[in-house]
């Protein structure tokens, strides 16, 4: 089969032409400017995933919120479920970029990690 998939890894948004089969996966790919597209289109066809980014309230920090993301990306159809899981959880300063704030969210094997340093106020 042939599909055009817009690569969303970076803002360049290459409209990637993909040849693929259900059994054999991606057999051909063109119109992409970098290698990150290879992995993306394969994932988008067979196991679409997204990084959910949001924030969590912080107690005792110099920012009221710490920004977070799922790492690695979670299944696309579970984004709102993940939000509900994150909602209500508060964290304590200090926090460093990369700290795991929720491990293995929704049993996806993905963590929710901090993307901002929050110092003690």
């Amino acid at each position: 089969m042939n599909s055009t998939i817009i690569c969303i890894v970076c803002p360049v948004s290459c409209p990637v032409d993909v040849e693929w089969t259900q059994e054999g996966g991606v057999t051909g790919i063109r119109n992409h400017l970098c290698k990150l597209a290879n992995e993306y289109v394969s994932s988008e066809l067979f196991d679409p995933r997204r990084t959910v980014t949001t924030s969590m309230p912080v107690d005792g920090g110099d920012w009221p919120l710490v920004s977070v993301r799922t790492n690695p990306p979670i299944p696309k159809d579970r984004m709102l479920e993940a939000m509900d899981e994150i909602t209500g959880v508060r964290v304590q300063a200090p926090i460093h970029v990369g700290d795991v704030l929720i491990a293995n969210i929704l049993n996806t094997g993905c963590d929710v990690i901090a993307t901002r340093n929050v110092k003690i106020a």
Binding site: S55, P57, L65, L80, M83, D84, T87, G88
Partner: protein
Amino acid sequence: MSEKYDVAIIGGGVVGSAIARELSRYNLKVTVLERAADVARGTSGKNSGVVHTGINVPYGSVKAKYNVAGAKMFEQYCADLDVPFKRVGKVIVALTEAEVPDLAGLKAKGDANGVPDLEIIDRATLKKMEPNIEGAGALNVPTAAIACPYSLTIALAESAAAAGVEIKLNSPVTSITGTEGAFEIETPNETVSAGLIINSAGLNSDKIARMVNVHRWRIWPCRGEYIILDKRVGNLINSMVYPVPPKGGGGLGIHITPTTDGNILLGPSADYTDDGDDVRTTAKIRRQLLREAGEFLPGLTPRAVITAYSGMRPKLVPSKVGGFGDFVIEEVPEAPGVMQLVGIESPGLTASPAIAEHVSNWVRERIPATSNSGFQNTWSSVHRTREKTLAVVDNLIAEDPSYGEVVCRCEMVTKAEIVDSINNKLGATSLNAIKYRSRATMGRCQGGFCGPRIVDLLIENGKSPESITLNGGNSWLFLGTTEDLRAESKAKRAKQKADAEKVEAK
């Protein structure tokens, strides 16, 4: 139990506020009832800010009397209250040769009213004075001036409050009973007793009059849209640029007016409306303003527009009749003890000090009063560091470091000025209250950058996010925290899921 006052002033526009300040010179118990969340939210806040000389009003009219008298008082008035005032002069421009003869008639009217130094100038002289303006000739009115109308109103109200006048915001008057010496005035919050009433309710002055059984007047709201231009093009004009007034109309025509802060105003249009609160702006008038102003000012580009807004004139003459409508400044036999100030449209700003003096005399003839030692002749609401030299600013910062944090970079407003605005004498804490006191958010980014910082400062000064409004009432800005909204939606999804499961179980 109602609170008792000697005088209740209904309406916190420039006239009501000026009267409040004038009365605060004496030991009188005075209150101002203002329906909005701040003073200057009606006609007084949204006009051209022109201190008229008296050239546009017929000799012998009430308008002429108070206009000419007010204009003489205005400069000192603004100086006392630390309000921006500039005598920039005015040119009334004949766009074509055909309009040039009209200038003589205008000059005659002005001469009759005693306006000094009027002069008809030719095309070349106009070009020398206003290089960017097109015109066949003009009437030069060098004594015309501009002032900041909302700053003046706020300063008047705050100085009155400082001297003991009680300014009650969010207090629309719903009914009035009783007679002179014992009026009972209802607002949604309380009943106010007063010996005398001043009806300075502007757009609603006819309704207030009807509450005391005076049915003589009807206000015809007439919307005027304005466009405001970036300071970057502020040097396109030096003085006010007016057209020859349109024949038969009740207005002065669309003019190009500098503001005391260096912007340019285009407007106002004139559209009668049934709803005095309908201060919308329209695409049609925006195009018209740019086109008509562009005839005088070919260098005008739409890219210079910062924003548009509308003011509302309280006219006493309906659109079908048109023409001149005079001010009503009188106590009428149907309602003794009530000073009726009705139809105070342009030149109401200019006339306000003279009206206030007249009304103060009227009050004191009825309630003699001694001088109030708490009254101060000079007043300053909020420092304007943008007008100060670097050395002065440096000294201010040494005294108070919050003068060193510029919150609004477009208008160079510091944290100290914002905090002073938040803690104003009237207790007005909407974003607009801060805007009209400090100028923050009035620049080219329209609060995109400084809005969040001002919100911080409001919260630091005791406001909850849910209680912050743009303009009082239901003009809320925040539902609450992001976390609150998220919890709301989580609960909604949980309920949907439970409902779906219930259906499945059935």
